[in-house]
């Protein structure tokens, strides 16, 4: 199982806290929106960053993030 991060783009307004909390998974694009470093639609979160990812999910002011387990 791999933890993956899903962004609900209809909610996200580019607040930017997720990219600050998860620098190894997310960067910020030209417009201030989080962009996956791996290029995957729902990027994998390495084990060492799972706690930070949970923190990012809780801290998103628009509740636009979701962490889920996926096969592979």
């Amino acid at each position: 199982m791999t933890a993956r991060l899903h962004v609900d783009w209809t909610r996200c307004d580019g607040h930017g806290s997720c990219a600050e909390l998860l620098p190894d998974v997310l960067a910020v694009d030209d417009f201030g929106f989080p962009v996956s470093r791996s290029g995957d639609r729902d990027p994998a979160v390495p084990r060492r960053s799972v706690d930070a990812a949970r923190h990012a999910v809780r801290n998103c002011p628009l509740m636009a993030l979701r962490l889920y387990d996926a096969a592979g």
Partner: protein
């Protein structure tokens, strides 16, 4: 509309009887009553795929929804928000009963709570309303727009919310209209399914190829003498499907509409199958074929399309809302002959930022169209950067 008969044209769908129900029964027979198992077997064996754009196997979608505990909702999608498409409207005016049959066959087999045919605002609903009389289904005339026909936007609108897509994390097959498992199928897919239910999978597969079975409706526009909707075998070549509309000096054909990709005139002998179209990054999609004439500038055309698509963004997702107008502006500058060699790379960089970062197919579809434009018309782009347009043979600036 053309009446020319070429060998590839088929007459499964368009030879309907209009709203006349008695004539419909005389031609096609009574509405078949199939148990879900039998219907699923027939649809699986037929190889029927969605005719609304994504081309997903219909049987898999039906099975996903039918497996649930709650009674599902079945939605027929005739929103047809693509400006270059009119095949669903033509089908519904000529053969409304066949589309409604498909909806009703599914609704009965799946014991659906509701069955709804959704049509766009500009559609003349009178023949469909007449054909729907006495059937246990609804016809809903909804708000339109390019993205209003996206599955999640349609579900939102049927639930009384704005006609914008929602986050696809929870699939509508799990929780759609009224929180129920929801099956959304394109109007033509429903008509094809009604034929499969009546005549069987083997009959259905007697047209098309083993991998792309049956027939499809195509809406043909652009540089042609006789634009219109034709039905053709899915194994046909692009050249043969276009022939009855009499293309005029074609330079390239946009396959799949504004979210589609170009096939240059050198590729007209490509068969309209998934396998052969992959070489062009194209797919049949909803069957939109738009012919660009050799006197038209492809970059001006593309800039116009992307400006339109940017305007049709539901304005919910940041990358689409911000990225599409930038892509449109840079394409417009390219079309105008701006001598800025960084423009193609900048369009590609912006495309990469937009791709995969939205709730619906709009950003990815737009990127597909733009990538194909820059690829197929590479030499043309180079000429524009040197300040002239090979198509119009004029200074581009």
């Amino acid at each position: 509309m053309t009446t020319t008969t070429a060998p590839v044209l088929t007459r499964r769908l368009l030879d309907g009887t209009g709203a006349d129900g008695a004539a419909h029964v005389a031609r096609y027979g009574m509405l078949p009553r199939l148990r879900l198992d039998d219907l699923l077997r027939a649809v699986t064996e037929s190889g029927l795929t969605g005719r609304g754009g994504a081309g997903f196997p219909t049987a898999i979608k039906v099975r996903a929804v039918a497996g649930g505990f709650r009674r599902p909702i079945v939605v027929g999608n005739a929103m047809e928000g693509e400006p270059l498409s009119s095949k669903d409207a033509v089908l519904l005016s000529r053969n409304p009963h066949l589309v409604l049959d498909g909806l009703e066959i599914l609704a009965r087999a799946m014991r659906a709570k509701r069955a709804v045919l959704a049509v766009g605002p500009d559609f003349d609903a009178a023949p469909v309303l007449a054909a729907a009389r006495g059937r246990r289904l609804e016809v809903a005339q909804l708000e339109g727009g390019f993205v209003a026909g996206q599955e999640t936007a349609l579900v939102n609108q049927l639930d009384g919310r704005p006609a914008v897509p929602r986050d696809p994390f929870t699939r509508v097959t799990e929780s759609g209209v009224d929180g129920r498992p929801t099956l959304v199928l394109n109007a033509e897919t429903l008509a094809q399914l009604a034929l499969v239910a009546r005549y069987g999978a083997e009959w259905f597969r007697s047209a098309g190829t083993p991998e792309d079975a049956g027939t499809s409706l195509f809406t043909i526009s652009g540089s042609v003498a006789r634009p219109g909707v034709v039905e053709a075998d899915r194994g046909s070549t692009l050249r043969d499907v276009l022939a009855p509309t009499q293309p005029v000096r074609p330079a390239a054909v946009l396959v799949g509409g504004y979210h589609g990709a170009w096939v240059p005139v050198s590729g007209l002998d490509v068969r309209l199958t998934q396998r052969e179209l992959t070489a062009y990054g194209a797919s049949v999609g909803a069957g939109v074929l738009h012919v660009l004439g050799s006197g038209s500038c492809p970059l001006s055309f593309a800039a116009g399309v992307v400006e339109y698509l940017a305007g049709e963004s539901a304005r919910q997702c940041g990358p689409c809302l911000n990225g599409l107008p930038r892509m449109a502006a840079d394409l417009r500058r390219l079309a105008a002959g701006t001598r800025d060699a960084s423009l193609p790379a900048e369009v590609e960089r912006m495309s990469a930022l937009v791709r995969g970062r939205g709730a619906c197919a709009h950003p990815d579809g737009t990127v597909r169209f733009v990538a194909s434009t820059l690829d197929v018309f590479r030499a043309h782009v180079t000429a524009h950067l040197e300040g002239w347009c090979p198509m119009t043979a004029r200074s581009a600036s």
